[in-house]
Amino acid sequence: MGPPVCYRLRCLPLALAAAMLAPGAFAQDSPVSTVQVTSTRDPVDKSYRKMIKGMERFEREHAYAPQAGLRFQLLPRTPDVTMDGITLRVAGDTLSVKMPVAPDNSFVLPRNEQALREDAAVLANRKTTSMTWRAAIVTPGLPPGTRRLGDLRLECRVGVEAGLVSNSSPLFDWLSNALTSADEVCTSPNGNYLFFAERPLFAVRLRSGERSETLPFHFLYAGGLPREELPFCDCQVLLDRTYYVPLWDKAWPDDTLVEFDYMTETAEARP
């Protein structure tokens, strides 16, 4: 299992975003033409069509997690965001459909032909970049503090297909998409699809039959992402819950258990 050389694909848009955000980044030495942007989709908002594509991928590749259903989940990205009372709706040109959100901020996306035709957005009542999204595909009956590798493999495929990762400025979403397909991200050691555990992690171990292996340190905490790069990562506020798993390594079957050793025995309140 080789070390994941982090962010090889994803950092290009991050780097460009950093350059654009730098003081004077827009200063020009020579005149340039002006482009008027009439609207940009808030990164907290997701494309309904893309999310439906993610759901279709779930159906096609359900064999990775045959006992599991698909939900989507909202997660905090910035320290100041309140995760209580989140409301969601699918909004098109003429359509607005409210969606129930569970106490764990997960939800099921209904299929709606009108929303597809109108290229609707899935909107949350939260500020730009304050949250991120993931697929939640969990086989029932697993031991506490564990996940199943096949579930995570499918979460990656659905999550990338649905455009759930919210790493960078929306201005660079197009570039990020151009560089990363689900097949690239979820089958390559360089894909680095981030997962979030329920609580802060101290170690992550894979177990399949008699074989057991603790993942190297760089599989945790987004590979030790420098603090100055954290604002560009959707793991910003969940860094201590962040982990990678070797999705690409077929030597670990889908039924492999991913076991979490948490930092503390019981959950501690966040400061």
Partner: protein, 102 residues
């Protein structure tokens, strides 16, 4: 200004190319096992005894420190230390054995 922006982008990309921050300082496993005591050893004592190493600092105040120990055949084992918000070692763990990280 354009040059400054370009340099910032390069800096971020440089981080991408190398992937992770520099790996942990190398210390023999026996020294770590004897010198790091959960509930007693402090951050200052870690630094004094083994030197500064790769550290990840979390908003909660916890820190994860990584040292590496030679394990033969050019391989290294990890020694991970969890430091609590009071600056005292809370837990340690050893392994896995792997080639040294860049």
């Amino acid at each position: 200004m354009k040059a400054r922006s370009f340099l910032l982008a390069l800096a971020v990309l440089a981080g991408c190319a190398t992937g992770n921050a520099p790996s942990g300082v190398q210390v023999p496993a026996e020294r770590l096992a004897a010198g790091v005591v959960p509930g007693a050893t402090t951050k200052a004592e870690l630094t004094a005894a083994f030197g500064k190493t790769k550290t990840v600092v979390f908003d909660s105040g916890y820190e994860a420190w990584l040292y590496q120990s030679p394990a033969g055949d050019g391989r290294f084992s990890e020694f991970v230390i969890l430091v609590n918000p009071q600056g005292v070692v809370a837990r340690t763990r050893q392994g896995p054995v792997s080639s040294p990280q860049p």
